[in-house]
């Protein structure tokens, strides 16, 4: 049995459809709204039944996990979920995959022996997730002089995802305007780029340097001399809305940020009205002189980043079930196989294009 939480959301719907289509087993579809969960369950191409599940109710959560081989959580918001569901899954003897979590959840579970012989994979979405995984296609033991990450586009925020975005700030997430240089974070070394043309992006874009912790790990793992990582926007509306909120709310907590989510949502809606929806992940490598030949660019284009995250969740689930992920607590970018993930993504209709050249 595969238990999937938050299945009726933007990410979960696609994750459930893909898991069912991959034929990984029967599904238990959990949601706060039983009717919507049941509608989804009946639409899936695999045996599935709906269960009411509230993450804030420990008994309901335990009941949901009971009997599952693996629990897949697409539920948010990330800051609230943290390691709660993972612990419940482990208690039921199940493995675990989570759309979010990042370092906070991973650290909470690491080193206590909580996992035992079980496996948990966090941050198995687009970003973080794919954004730290696909660039590894360009390294493969080849010494890199520079690695660039450009990820973003035009996507509509929900109030919930807006709060998540507002919370991804601080040393646990990344450092704005920083690059990675010669083994460490070099603060204040990059400036925002305005109206630049980047391969794969359909319009000139604004790219804001943000060296995520994921990019820092990527830098260490690949040994690149320099890593530049940018969040890409189609206009300055979103960066301005985010910055305005951060300027107004010094202590960033979900409660203090929630009233400002509306501004962020509105900015994303206006971007969407002007540019439509698109999502691009661009990674470029510059090998050191004399390095062996190999690919220097990975370019993935899609329309909907939420749906794309659902696909990644399903692929992570499949990887765990097939035994290709060792026991323990991991981040998807560090544990999934880049080649296998890329070839699976290439076959998915939700991916418009994925080139490695």
């Amino acid at each position: 049995m595969i238990g999937i939480l938050g299945a009726t959301g933007a990410v979960g719907r696609t994750a459930a459809q893909r898991i069912a289509a991959y034929g990984l087993g029967p599904l238990r579809v959990g949601g706060r709204n039983l009717t919507r969960a049941a509608d989804l369950a009946s639409s899936l191409p695999a045996p599935a039944h709906a269960v009411r599940a509230d993450l804030n109710d420990p008994a309901e959560l335990a009941a949901f996990c009971d009997g599952c081989r693996i629990v897949v959580s697409c539920a948010g918001p990330t800051y609230q979920v943290l390691d709660t569901v993972a612990r419940a899954a482990f208690a039921a003897g199940a493995d675990y995959v989570d759309i979010g979590g990042e370092l906070a959840a991973k650290d909470a579970l690491t080193g206590e022996g909580v996992a035992g012989d079980r496996t948990a994979v966090f941050s198995a979405g687009v970003m973080p997730g794919l954004s730290g995984l696909l660039p590894r296609l360009l390294a493969k033991g080849r010494p890199l002089r520079r690695l660039d990450v450009y990820v973003g586009g035009a996507a509509v925020f929900t109030p919930l995802s807006a709060v998540d975005a507002l919370l991804t700030r601080g040393p646990r997430f990344g450092e704005p305007m920083a690059a990675w240089r010669e083994g460490r974070v070099a603060p204040g070394t990059l400036a925002p780029l305005h109206q630049v043309r980047l391969p794969g992006f359909p319009v000139p874009v604004h790219a804001w340097p943000y060296l995520t912790t994921e990019a820092q790990t990527l830098a260490t793992d690949t040994g690149a001399d320099e890593v530049r990582s940018y969040n890409v926007f189609v206009s300055n509306r979103l960066p301005e809305a985010l910055a305005a909120t951060w300027a107004e709310v010094p202590d960033a907590r979900p409660e203090t940020l929630a009233p400002h989510a509306e501004t962020v949502v509105r900015a994303s809606l206006r971007d969407n009205a002007d540019f439509g929806a698109f999502y691009v992940m661009l990674f470029t490598a510059r090998p050191r002189p004399g390095a062996p030949p190999g690919p220097t660019r990975v370019l993935l284009t899609a329309v909907d980043s939420y749906a794309l995250s659902g696909v990644v969740m399903a692929l992570a689930t499949r990887a765990v079930l097939s035994g290709s992920v060792p026991a323990g607590v991991h981040l998807a970018a560090e544990v999934l196989d880049p080649d296998a993930t890329a070839s699976a993504l290439r076959k998915d209709v939700l991916v418009e294009g994925l080139t490695v050249e």
Binding site: T284, P289, T296, E357
Partner: protein
């Protein structure tokens, strides 16, 4: 009203109280040059941007006051006054950037464009009588020395990567040296040869401010107390207004060992430095929006039939056709213009447009006009020498069934409207046009230049008495111009009481008979304007608005080399090295081999810098012209590779 009267008083040299409120600007002695300055002063002091089409030359002080009232009362959008101030820089020898037109000349000197020369410069010599042969040389050298103190721009240098600075007065070679040819004992044949040689030399190799002074001063002493003064001026350092200021200052110093000119508090570098703040102003942004909204509908240059592709010719000098109008004709022309409510410059521009339309076979065309363009952000700006000038792109749309007078009225309105948005210059507009069209051929290769009225604006003609140098015979002169990116231009200027018009052109491009015919037509048309018969005639313009399908080579309709590279990441180390150089100079990611240097935001000056960087990185010098002919990452890498191959 008081401020307006003060502005008129300054420009017209009349006491403010004596300016009648109901007499037109032109009749009070104004002209198109002064009208540009008037509009600029109104903008600066009152914060009102008037279209010059509003400020017609027959505008009276009452009219102007009413216009300003309408603008400030919300009838029309008012812009803020230019919030720029010029102050002396703490370090007068610090480097500062080149202005856009200087950049164009600089790139031209690197053989960057088609129609380029080793130096963009103006050469002039004129006759002197009553020269004190024993004193003249020393007096001239001393005057140049004092001039180099008064006007530090005489000590200006341009760096190889396209910046400029002024050398300290005591730096070796800072002060231009005067060369003297003493032919007082020579015979006529020897004199003729010597004169021909110096003209040939100074016409074909101008002063190069990347290596020495931007000015070359020489004196030939001739028998009978006669002589000639030779001046070579780099266009990179001096504009047309500057050469007038320079001549006046120089002759004032020569005439009197003890002459002291009113000191200048600011210099060209201070002005340029203050302009760095211009793009932050609302006025600048409004001008940019105004131009950008018109770019996609700008016409091409007149489709003149060509004898050769400009890319294929390597001109050394430009050919001239020149005509002088005697004092009576010139005075008659001025009167006619006044009666018709247009400036003489407008009349000449319209006549040039008519001739071009008949020659090219269509009526809608883009001209490039040279503007004095000194922003009145400091009271001394007009007295400083430097390369302040700018170009302005000017579309002409001549109606088929209009009389000359009607055409001229329209041209004056169009020209005024465009000149009222002069914070963005023609070079910048041209760059954006080229970027949008994806063409790197010159956007405005047909140029109109008029300095009619400059003498009046400077308070009379240049001095004629020059102490030991004797007396200037201004009408006995020889001159030669080389401006890059120009196929043909007309220049109109005053010479004492006379008027001169010159066609300067790249002879290799045109059929000589056609040029001769066009110039004859131009002269006949101006004659008819002076005698009054030309104004109410239909000038016989072609039916077609736009150029028809090209038969043979035509200006503006030349084949574009189609450069297409497969898109993708840089294919090898060489392409990556080129991408790295692009990235460093443009400060944007350069991630694709098909990305174009200009499409990424580069301009020609940065292209020269890229060439300098590539020479350092790859150890090979890429000619600027080859860089520009295919400025993609892959294209430049291919040039570097082939040059490296040649070296081996």
């Amino acid at each position: 009203m008081k401020e307006l009267a003060e502005i008129w008083s300054e420009l017209l040299g009349l006491p403010p109280g004596e300016i009648p409120h109901d007499v037109g600007f032109l009749r009070l002695g104004g002209d198109s040059v002064l009208a540009v300055r008037m509009s600029a002063l109104v903008r600066k002091r009152l914060g009102v941007a008037l279209a010059l089409s509003d400020v017609r030359v027959e505008t009276t002080l009452d009219d102007l006051a009413e216009l300003v009232r309408r603008h400030t009362s919300g009838g029309a959008p008012a812009t803020r006054a230019l919030p720029l101030t010029v102050t002396p820089r703490p370090d007068p020898h610090a480097e500062f950037p080149l202005l856009p037109l200087q950049q164009g000349y600089f790139v031209g000197q690197q053989d960057g464009w088609e129609l380029s020369y080793d130096s963009a410069h103006y050469y002039l010599d004129y006759a002197l009588t009553g020269v004190d042969g024993d004193e003249a040389a020393d007096a001239l050298a001393d005057a140049v020395g004092r001039l180099a103190t008064h006007q530090p721009t005489l000590r200006a240098r341009v760096t190889p990567d396209g910046r400029q600075h002024v050398l300290p007065a005591d730096a070796p070679g800072a002060v231009p040296q005067v060369r003297v040819y003493d032919l007082r004992e020579a015979g006529p044949a020897e004199i003729a040869t010597a004169l021909r040689d110096v003209r040939q030399e100074m016409s074909t190799s101008g002063p190069d401010p990347t290596r020495g002074p931007g000015i070359d001063v020489r004196l030939t002493l001739l028998p009978g107390d006669e002589g000639r003064l030779h001046l070579g001026l780099s266009l990179l350092i001096f504009d047309g207004w500057s050469s007038s200021v320079l001549s006046r200052d120089l002759l004032a110093f020569v005439a009197d060992w003890n002459a002291a000119l009113p000191p200048l508090d600011i210099h060209f570098g201070d002005y340029v430095t203050s302009l760095a703040d211009l793009p932050a102003t609302e006025a600048w942004q409004a001008d940019r929006d105004w131009w950008w909204s018109r770019l996609d509908t700008l016409p091409g240059p007149p489709a003149l039939p060509l004898a050769a592709d400009p890319q294929e010719v390597r001109p050394v000098t430009m050919g001239n056709r020149e005509h002088r109008w005697r004092a009576e004709s010139w005075a008659a022309l001025r009167r006619q213009c006044t009666d018709r409510g247009v400036t003489p410059s407008t009349a000449m521009l319209t006549a040039f447009g008519v001739v071009l339309a008949r020659w090219a076979g269509h009526r809608r065309m883009l001209l490039n006009s040279l503007q004095l363009n000194r922003l009145p952000i400091h009271p001394e700006v007009q007295r400083v020498v430097g390369a302040f000038a700018a170009t302005m792109l000017l579309p002409l749309d001549l109606a088929a069934e209009a009389t000359f007078a009607e055409l001229a009225a329209t041209v004056q309105a169009t020209s005024g409207e465009h000149a009222a948005h002069n914070l963005i210059t023609g070079v910048e507009v041209g760059r954006e046009v080229a970027r949008r069209r994806g063409s790197w051929r010159p956007v405005g290769p047909v140029v109109f230049q008029s300095v009619l009225g400059v003498d009046a604006a400077m308070g009379g003609g240049p001095p004629e008495e020059a102490g030991p140098l004797g007396r200037v015979v201004a009408s006995d002169y020889f001159h030669q111009l080389r401006t890059p990116q120009v196929a043909i231009e007309v220049r109109c200027f005053e010479l004492g009481p006379e008027m001169v018009a010159v066609f300067s052109l790249v002879e290799e491009l045109f059929d000589t008979d056609q040029v001769t015919a066009a110039f004859a037509e131009f002269v006949a048309l101006v004659d008819a304007l002076a005698d009054g018969s030309g104004w109410d005639r239909l000038p016989g313009l072609p039916e077609e608005t736009e150029p028809g399908p090209a038969s043979g080579l035509r200006l503006g309709l030349l084949p574009e080399p189609a450069v297409r590279h497969r898109e993708g990441p840089p294919a090898d180390d060489m392409e990556q090295a080129v991408a790295d150089v692009f990235e460093e100079l443009l400060e944007v990611p350069v991630l694709d081999r098909a990305a174009d240097f200009f499409g990424l935001g580069g301009d020609s000056l940065l292209a020269v810098r890229a060439v300098v960087r590539l020479a350092k990185e790859a150890g090979v010098s890429v000619p600027v012209r080859e860089f520009l002919s295919d400025s993609t990452v892959a294209g430049v890498a291919a040039v570097v590779r082939s040059r490296l191959g040649d070296q081996r």
